[in-house]
Symmetry: C2
Subunit: 123 residues, 2 copies
DNA sequence: AACATTATATCGATTACCGATATATCATCG
DNA sequence: CGATGATATATCGGTAATCGATATAATGTT
């Protein structure tokens, strides 16, 4: 139905859906330990079974924003070799994650209720 | 934490989260039968337990867009009284709903997996 | 030496959503 | 009967998140 990728086609891919969710995904990834940006993207993709992906035009602005907002802190790895900026959760970020996890789970429950309902209607 | 409503504060309310989801909500609501816009908004709010809401600055542009895309069809109620535009699903809309329901459920599953994982990590 | 991958970064364009504003009908209450 | 509030639709400007393209550079692979 209608060429995929057409502008305005609005195919509900994970990207469009993910609007506003990426920050939560970053927090969730960092919950398991400090990581640099590229690794966060790989982890999110792996742990979500490929459902969520970060384009690098999306990833780095988000990390910068979250650092500016105090949710994460980044430090350039001192070692030689390819430069990496390693991020870790701040206390604020940790608190934010737990609060927002609760809230998003409510939202997911609401959405699932809607979808289940739509599925059950006979025709 | 940080005044709610502050720009850039990004509190993950249902609104920000809902980006791209509203269309699916409209389709799901219309699955139960033809409805006019205002009623769709009330239904969505009720069936999602208040999690999802349409502001009217959001609702009508979405309906127009979806009609232009062929997912729904609207007809002005012929009867007298307050004018209402009653929308119903097209075949395309019905097919779109069932396909996107599957896909969104996968996304929800991926997201839940991430959240559950983040919750389970000791510290 | 050539190439792919890792790794970070920025910028312009797109677009969905929000808030405000506008219009009009109908019901209710004083 | 006039005011108010709920119903009902509509548009517009602004905001902000995301995308795609582009850039840089070190490292691994062939």
């Amino acid at each position: 139905m209608s060429k995929p990728g057409t502008p305005g086609d609005q195919e509900f891919d994970a990207q469009g859906f993910a609007r506003g969710i990426h920050e939560l995904l970053v927090l969730a990834a960092l919950r398991e330990g400090p990581r640099h940006g590229y690794q966060i993207a790989l982890d999110v993709e792996a742990h979500s079974n490929g459902v969520f992906r970060f384009r690098h035009g999306t990833l780095y602005p988000i990390l910068h924003r979250m650092e500016a907002n105090g949710f994460i802190r980044g430090r350039w790895s001192s070692g030689a070799g390819r430069r990496k900026k390693v991020y870790s959760l701040t206390d604020l970020g940790r608190r934010h994650l737990s609060g927002e996890t609760d809230r998003v789970e409510d939202i997911l429950a609401g959405l699932m209720r809607m979808l289940r309902r739509a599925r059950e209607v006979p025709a």
